[in-house]
């Protein structure tokens, strides 16, 4: 037992150092370094403004942009960290053939690297929201819970995918297509109220229920509840997202412990 705890602390430190390395190398690749973490959301906002306010002439002005920004940034976090975590095992096989390490370490590094980046962007977002009139309110205390739920969902999705990609690289293409579809179904560009309450007669449940079966839809809606509409999150949606996260995580753990000693014996050629 004491060995197990010591090992766990060691793994935690490995993840921490490598996450630091990931952030540093990402910042050093560009001339502007960490400034990009702030510039990126600014550029996204500008694009939203041009497309939705100037071209489509959506009403709502700044409100509309905040709504879109919350959706986009939160979705980006989900997509980029799941994708990075997914490549975690495959891209580090050469390191794993030298050390005895659990296979979940490298996916976690990818996830945490993009999560730190997201947190910077998220802070900028909150400042921007405050400027637009969405000042912090008491319900902001729920934000850590929503963020934690989403992180659980990300880790849960990434782990089984990481094992899968190490065996079948084709999954990368499949998953990025699914993500593109999911982005449009998660309410990044619209709110849940936009989804009709009724469905054609041959569909058993109404469209809103299908909409909220997607955990990201409920999470994005929860962020908007808190930041824009000064309400608590949609707890049912959080519960669903956490369940998805846990279920995938357990599947991922079983998969990774099953392939632990086998995965490295594969040769590509």
């Amino acid at each position: 037992m004491r060995h197990k705890i010591a090992d766990f602390i060691r793994y935690r430190d490995i993840v921490w150092y490598r996450t630091l390395a990931g952030l540093k190398s990402e910042a050093r690749q560009n001339f502007l370094g960490y400034v990009w973490f702030l510039l990126e959301p600014a550029i996204t906002t500008a694009i939203m403004y041009v497309v939705y306010v100037l071209i489509f002439q959506y009403g709502g002005g700044a409100n509309r942009i905040v709504l879109l920004l919350v959706g986009t940034i939160v979705w980006q976090w989900f997509e980029s960290s799941t994708m990075q975590g997914m490549m975690g095992i495959k891209s580090k096989l050469h390191i794993m053939t030298h050390f005895t390490l659990p296979k979940y370490i490298f996916p976690l590094v990818g996830i945490f690297t993009s999560t730190w980046k997201f947190l910077c962007i998220f802070c900028v977002l909150l400042v921007y929201c405050a400027i637009c009139g969405y000042t912090p309110n008491i319900h902001f205390l729920w934000l850590p819970l929503v963020l934690a739920t989403q992180l659980l969902l990300i880790i849960g999705c990434a782990l089984p995918l990481a094992v899968g990609v190490a065996y079948f690289n084709d999954l990368t293409t499949v998953v990025s297509s699914i993500f593109r579809l999911l982005m449009f179904l998660s309410g990044v560009f619209f709110t849940a109220s936009f989804v009709p309450n009724q469905s054609p007669s041959f569909v058993p449940l109404h469209a809103q229920i299908y909409f909220f079966m997607n955990p990201m839809a409920g999470l994005i809606e929860s962020y908007r509840y808190i930041i824009m509409w000064k309400q608590g999150p949609n707890f049912w949606a959080l519960f669903v997202a956490a369940d998805y996260g846990l279920a995938f995580l357990i599947i991922g753990m079983v998969m990774s412990s099953y392939v632990n000693g086998k995965i490295l014996k594969r040769v590509s050629g």
Partner: protein, 259 residues
């Protein structure tokens, strides 16, 4: 193939082996693809058996492609065997000596020393307390606080070696890494390794070079095409190995005796 066991082993051995390897086999599998034409499996080890005793220096000798490196990764618990059994007498910290693998270019030498130590099974506190020693041994000077991406390959190897010397596994597995950096550092690293060999630590050294094995080890195992040919006293095994190589290819001797 015949399994010869030399009976005149000169070292007195305790009865219970630290690690016992019995009829171990391992195969690599190709990545599956609907357009793949090659065989799905490659057997690297067919039938390998030997014992490793506490405190001994065991040499594993064999030609290129005989399965030595694969065997090391089984001992380090990185690979799972496909047949046979490896028994550890107690929970052991077995570590492969890999120099500079897992370095992160964007981190400084100091940070990489800690990270590499963590990968090699030591905790953060242990590594932090050894940083000055690592800095001295690696002779990196002010480069120690610069990103590793600015290092020459020799500097990287020196840092890797210095870190490896400060991680103290119960069983050290060495895969022909003697001779790091320039001539002077090579001597220094050789001496540091000698020190590890002279102590009480259990060491497994693999090499295709009979001379190296004979110089560093007390007992040896000879492996050929994934099978154990012989296990026993280093002199006997090395002699038999050389004889077999000579019979196959007279030119091979020169390669085996660099001096």
């Amino acid at each position: 193939m015949l399994m010869e066991k030399s009976s005149n082993a000169s070292v007195a051995k305790p009865a219970q082996p630290l690690i016992s390897v019995r009829n171990v086999a391992l195969c690599y599998r190709y990545q599956k693809s609907i357009f793949a034409r090659h065989k799905a499996k490659i057997w690297a080890l067919h039938d390998v058996s030997f014992n490793l005793f506490e405190g001994e220096k065991l040499g594993i000798i064999g030609r290129n492609g005989s399965g030595k490196s694969t065997l090391m990764k089984i001992l380090a618990k990185i690979f799972e065997t496909d047949a046979g059994k490896v028994t550890y007498s107690r929970p052991l910290h077995v570590q492969l000596l890999s120099l500079g693998v897992g370095f992160e270019g964007s981190l400084s030498g100091r940070e990489n020393a800690v990270l590499n130590g963590l990968l090699l099974g030591k905790n953060r506190r242990h590594m932090l307390s050894r940083l000055e020693k690592i800095k001295d041994f690696s002779e990196l000077g002010e480069f120690f606080d610069m990103p590793v991406s600015t290092y020459s390959s020799g500097m990287g190897a020196r840092l890797g070696f210095a870190v490896a010397m400060e991680t103290e596994p119960e069983v050290l597995l060495i895969d022909e890494v003697l001779g790091v950096g320039d001539a002077r550092f090579a001597t220094k690293s050789y001496n540091a390794l000698q020190e590890k060999f002279s102590g009480n630590r259990t060491v497994v050294l693999i090499s295709h070079d009979a001379a190296t094995i004979q110089k560093m080890c007390t007992r040896a195992v000879w492996i050929e095409k994934g099978r154990t040919i012989m296990e026993g006293d280093v002199k006997t095994v090395a002699a038999a190995y050389l004889k077999a190589i000579n019979a196959d290819d007279p030119n091979a001797v020169r390669e085996l005796r660099p001096d």
